[in-house]
Symmetry: D2
Subunit: 361 residues, 4 copies
């Protein structure tokens, strides 16, 4: 329960951080989409650990193998299974965790829910779990471009780390700018202070959080559905399903609550024969359905829970104790969260694209 996502483009992820590997099965992918392992590897490489001096030193090649669902470099319409083996696992680094719950981790709740847990690494709660999502999303992106929106762009970037805020225009930011720096922010001026902050935090054995902003450009009108499966509702679920997330907002978000209706409403105007809005506080979605404007949302990531400081905690035997973080961890998850946010957005859009085609195509 809980590892299947999507109604029509349905993905089933699996895997713990320490074990045979991680992966995903994609059911419902349209046939005749060109697909090779390279398409998937590009995105996996963006999320893999050990990319830069500010991410975890865990070194995983994260090489994807497509086990089924393709033939002669095209999808068959049947389930696509993707496998990534775990390689650089060091369970010995976690032996203390077999007896102590790490604060603000999933150790205690997993144990309480299931009566067991794989304490070697985060098990299923590890960010390694997101590999399956990213691999599936690489396919989703191809489906979106080949079937629904050739010009679709999904670009996420670090909007803020702690109190350092990047100055980025979501309407013009480009992928190359974001990928050109190890923080993955869209503001060249913010790179250095952000890198320094993360390094400083790591030096102190501390950690830091921030906000990822994501823009979706050229999304067709009509994606999303009334009531429960509003596009923003499914995006919110997708984003809050990521480890370490604490908040989601779309368009004007929480700040928008301080405006009046007169200030907040987006007037309609015809432009080049299209219905457009002259402002975009709606964030590209109205009534739960995309209106053709840029879809813009933000996701809050808390500071990494693993810190190299002694903290109060309890044992599995329910006694008070202390625990100091070990293992290899990101002092700041934001740079690696960027491709994952994009991935979840792609999965939501692809599913809604197929749903839209089914009902209204």
């Amino acid at each position: 329960m809980g590892s299947i996502f999507g109604e029509l483009f349905r993905i089933s992820t699996w895997g713990e951080s320490h074990g045979g590997g991680v992966g995903v099965v994609v059911d419902g992918c349209p046939p005749l989409i060109s697909l090779t392992e390279k398409d998937i590897q590009i995105d996996l490489d963006r999320r893999r650990p050990g990319q830069s001096e500010i991410t975890t030193p865990r070194n995983e090649a994260d090489q994807a193998e497509i086990l089924s669902g393709t033939f002669e470099e095209q999808t068959l319409g049947t389930p696509i299974a993707i496998l990534v083996r775990n390689k650089d696992a060091r369970p010995e680094a976690y032996s203390e965790m077999s007896e102590k719950f790490r604060p603000s981790h999933a150790d205690y709740t997993y144990q309480a829910k299931y009566g067991t847990r794989n304490w070697q690494g985060g098990g299923r709660s590890s960010a390694r779990e997101t590999i399956g999502r990213v691999a599936a999303a690489a396919i989703a992106k191809k489906v979106l471009k080949e079937k629904f929106a050739p010009d679709l762009e999904i670009i996420a970037y670090v909007k803020s780390i702690r109190d350092i805020e990047a100055d980025v225009d979501p309407n013009t930011v480009d992928f190359e700018t974001v990928e050109s720096n190890i923080v993955r922010t869209g503001d060249p001026n913010a790179v250095e202070p952000m890198v320094n902050l993360v390094k400083e935090m790591r030096g102190e054995g501390n950690s830091v959080g921030g906000v990822v902003e994501c823009v979706i450009r050229n999304c067709p009108v009509g994606f999303g559905a009334p009531v429960f499966d509003r596009l923003e509702a499914d995006l919110a679920k997708a984003m809050l399903s990521l480890p370490a997330t604490k908040g989601f907002e779309i368009g004007s978000g929480f700040e928008g609550t301080k405006l009046t209706g007169r200030e907040h409403n987006d007037p309609f105007r015809m432009e080049d024969g299209k219905v457009r809005t002259t402002s975009n506080r709606s964030g590209g979605v109205q009534g739960g359905i995309s209106n053709g404007e840029n879809i813009i949302f933000r996701v809050a990531f808390k500071p990494t829970a693993t810190i190299m400081t002694s903290q109060d905690t309890v044992t599995t035997q329910l006694e008070d104790t202390e625990l100091k973080g070990r293992g290899r961890h990101d002092p700041c998850v934001l740079p690696r969260a960027v491709p994952i946010v994009e991935a979840m957005a792609a999965l939501v859009l692809c599913d809604h694209g197929l749903r839209q085609k089914a009902q209204n195509g």
Copy 2:
């Protein structure tokens, strides 16, 4: 598509603001839960229009009829169908909307998606649609209390309207305080300024938004699931599926991104034989699973889109025009949103309670 919610406590809502009525079918409710129409009416009365001087004057008794699924005032385990007739409908107030899209409403996107829409009122995008949710949630609350958590409390309240912020302690706020004022805030000192602001806005034909905060107390440990169906992910989806919402945050939320890991982590300590955290920046959920602490989240509601001012818009014939709001509307949806936020929380919890029982009971 999009009108079914929940995996095991599965609700199927239906109905437009103008038409035969609105309602819900609940599939999967456990048997032998005491249930009469009175149980449902209490919550419907809290959300119905015309309650006070600061809500819409539309006058609907919103009388619920249980059509199936109960016998001798207990649930049967079979689907429970609930019907509320539309009474005080005035389609004539909407005739202009047949030809013009209201800004920041769902008119344009519904038309673009479906090629048709019921322009008499908001159709399916009307807040009237939430009646089915509230009715189903009245049952969910009974299931939760009789099956899972007799002491469960779900209390929402207005945290802010525009820039007026209420001072409320989620750990101690009580239902009676919230219900004692027409704004439904938990801070007696905030009532008067909030009421005055709403009245002022209405006087100007304008509208205003704000934030609803919700606390869930005495939720059992273990609700929620790893990966996609994290409790906060399902809460986020539930809340963002409500009309007029723009954001969701749990625990420390967006502000928490400004803390370091050392400041943010919630240390564990034993207390009365239970594992507790000495702070609660996690907001009651860790690794997607409830940890027994109070679950605290906030939902951003934008200002009501309908305002009594002329605004730029386009016609269904795709020509630029202007439109001035008509009809009966809430100048601020917050007071009526309070019971609806509680309702969605109850639906999510009930579903996860049954899921927890299935897998781990």
Copy 3:
């Protein structure tokens, strides 16, 4: 649980035989399908009780009311709720059933599963429950014809009652022939012996079963999916979900197991530019997917469980006793089963049509 059917054309039925009524909510219906209550009434009239001298004398007009999802006689794309009130209920006829389980009915198993049951009539196990299916299927048929297959024909008929077998050619049988006789068989010569048998059985307070055969003509190629959702698998589930069914077979069925591969295989040949098979032992489905030939299947219905004879049974207090049937019942469900079999076939096809469009359209 168990009252929702379909992935994309998703119906949620509700209602007991004695209570406020029965009905259905259809979620996922495409917009702009012409629909009025008359479209639904035609099929409801075919299944309603009291139609002829060989069906139950219970007299229900079964008048359908569309409560939502249409506007100006077209579907909106939003959920369509349909309500049929119970009128001619006589709970007093069932008072003995409050204490005794009727043999081969659902009384005992419902009580054992839920710890309660509505003993006034069959509750949810009553054939009255199928009203929601038939109403939803009336819409499904319109969607199929307007969106997928204008020439689609779904024709069911009584193939046998007890040991009287009708001689019907599924490739040529027509709707008018079937509807022209009260047994709803496709063989004019079988009508009189079948009617006489049913009357004889009723005269003895006994009952009788039989087989319904159904042919689907002009189904597009490509409906159905590999593995679990094969078209025949979904048809089998649909048919075995009907009250009183004991078997399902498609194409050559059980008799086909007596042929060799050489005798059984359907050779392919081009005909008018189409791939056709020169025989049809596959029954129109190969590899779980429709191949354009006529889809032909049969459904076994057991004799009605309610008989006017004293039978051994036990009480709700778990003591041996006897019970003699009362109430108004069909001595043979076959004639009224015919439109219900067609209805379930339409629901399966419509759902697979939308699925096919989503993935391969």
Copy 4:
């Protein structure tokens, strides 16, 4: 679409006969169930090819690898991924199939549906696909025994091949008798004639079908649900989702339609404090819900479509041609179908067990 099965014990299978392998992901398995690869291998060995002189000579060890979801030989409650590599693949044997559709195979319908297919072997329509089902069912059986019914027995056996019918009492047949002969029939006297028939058919390059009967003993009362998810409906779907199946019947089945209600009804009687029926024409299910009696059903398997004779067919270029079967195939699928029928029954029961616990536990 179509490769996911189950509501709570949800399996997602994948894989073609020629490609990286086949496998399954099981989501929703309860934690703390003892599980190693050996548990799975036992059942895989029963279905694997090359077991005897009457099955296909394709030689696959079908070694299962558990990639996730277990820790220290117990389930974790997280998804269990199982991988079986393809080894003895011979795509060259299928080169002719790249251009010709095999009669009564899935070649044509897959091509028509998807516009592509993996013509090396049956692709997704190969019986190799059932490996994932059998592997998942090995887990389901353990869950059933450890959580719901320690004495549960699911025993399938060959009831007939062509016109040779075995004489088996489902109430007493035992697993050892069935496994002691290569046909997997429950009647020692039927073994020799059945083996001879299969050999004779193979000698002629022909094939033969038959019926598998399955009995489930000691199933708890209360599994199954009213309306769509009746236990027999889900069993029917499960069985008709297997390759080569043409029919399903439960209890009295098609023959039961020749009885009157008086002959068919199962009287209730108390026995050892339990409600029992003195006959079992219901086949262990009443009103869609198990009643504690033996669940008995039969599944019709057509003769294997691949025969070593020239047959009429068409090319992918839509021209008439002929094709003679090649490759390695079972002349009769029945012996290997036995464990697969059991597997599907176990999957259905396990899912309904969890559903029963969720709603009524």
